[in-house]
Symmetry: C2
Subunit: 269 residues, 2 copies
């Protein structure tokens, strides 16, 4: 294993770019490869078995690119596929749910915590289980937000329609006195200003991206895989199963310094 | 491996209790075993080969107690023995130098970083190497402080003599315009108020304990070893090769809630 080998990131679409953004900041030396399965996005409403199959297809593609570590930058895929993939791969595999959980438990003072995510993530109960095992007396309010991912994937995250959809969707959480809300889907940070506005400024929003990359950084050290000898900044290569035009628009709008030119690939044939 | 098995902590003496203090806060469910080799403290002036041998003796003792993870809560031992012990043990092994490095790099704004430690730690160059590989243009000022550990081990950390010794020792660092000072020895947080006073309030002191325990917490999750099913707070058992009376005095003064009754053992016979 060479330390110059890239770290692989997979997501159902563009959501994992919120994790990439944090990686560019915390791990500027690392080479990275991103794959978004935009053509089959969203994963949220799909049966667990299918999400596991799709996640394996993405994983196998990145393994052909000689990745040294895999980040499942998708909550839905983490919820159902992380354990299995970690067991079968010889490289370290990181998910986004436990980092988000640790950050939420740390942030909450009143132990009233909200979780929003896809139908798949919420139904898996992964966050509830992880939070309860750490804070037995927590009050947890979970809410599936199936309309959010399509908004982001169609590059409408800043549109008036997004404001309306977010406000309507989050209504059930507004009288719950939560002080912390987990953005339990990597797409949701792209809606962050609107979500913050709806929930009010006293609710702390947890974007598991930053915490996930702290875990990646620690594991790179632990397994002696960090690309410390680099003299140039790392590279970022992006692949999508969908429209490269839409992907590039969202990526270049969201990421600070990169000029993303994604490459289209096909999975599952 | 059972998740109820204890985490083992080793140090040349009482210094690693500063890491235990953080563990009691961040990991209240975990069972812990601490071993301080007080009879042979300080390790700092000893040859590397001897420190490695002593560290193995401590490690072997804790392995008989069925630990699920080992924390080398001693910078001198981490500097010379971590790689070897990690390679040979099947349980995760964590040191204190990389966590301290990550925290220092994060904290420093002017990239002028001081490091204080034992003669062994400073001579190993471990911190310099780890910091330079992350921040190539850093200005690093290292200083061995051989008088600090004996002050702490003799329970004189709050005495007037400690103030005098610390002020004299740290003089070479005072005109270096550092904004961050790594307490590169787990004993030094016991001298923290005096060190802070000498260096001035604008210098951020890095105690690697907190960052080390964040790494432990992440690795417990990663390797699925966390004691999450516990319904009672974890236990802490302490062993020392030296005087239990002195050990208990320092431990009970330093730790917030525990009543430490250490047990004396012999190593190296």
């Amino acid at each position: 294993m060479k330390n110059t080998q890239p770290i692989g990131f997979i997501d159902s679409g563009v959501g994992g770019l919120t994790v990439i953004k944090e990686a560019l900041k915390q791990l500027p030396n690392e080479n990275m490869i991103y794959l978004g399965d935009t053509a089959r996005c969203p994963y949220g409403p799909r049966p667990a078995k299918q999400v596991i199959d799709y996640t394996w297809e993405m994983t196998r593609f990145l393994l052909t690119k000689d990745i040294k570590m895999l980040v499942i930058a998708c909550n839905t895929a983490t919820a159902v596929a992380l354990d299995e993939i970690r067991q079968q791969l010889s490289i370290p595999v990181v998910g986004v749910i436990l980092p988000g959980t640790r950050a939420a438990v740390k942030a909450s003072k009143n132990q009233r915590i909200g979780i929003i995510g896809t139908v798949g993530t919420i139904n898996s109960g992964s966050y509830e289980k992880a939070i309860y095992s750490r804070v037995r007396q927590a009050d947890i309010y979970s809410l599936a937000c199936p309309k959010f991912v399509p908004l982001v994937e169609s590059n409408q995250a800043q549109s008036p329609i997004a404001k309306k959809v977010v406000a309507e969707t989050l209504k059930p959480l507004q009288n719950k006195k939560i002080d912390t809300l987990v953005l339990g889907c990597t797409h949701y940070p792209l809606l962050r200003p609107i979500i913050q506005n709806v929930m009010g400024k006293d609710v702390e929003l947890i974007d598991s991206g930053a915490e996930t990359i702290s875990e990646v950084s620690m594991l790179l050290d632990y397994f002696q895989l960090a690309n410390l000898e680099a003299t140039n900044p790392g590279t970022l290569a992006c692949y999508t199963t969908g429209s490269t035009k839409m992907f590039n628009e969202i990526a270049n709008d969201w990421l600070p310094t990169q000029t993303v030119q994604s490459i289209q690939i096909q999975l599952g044939e």
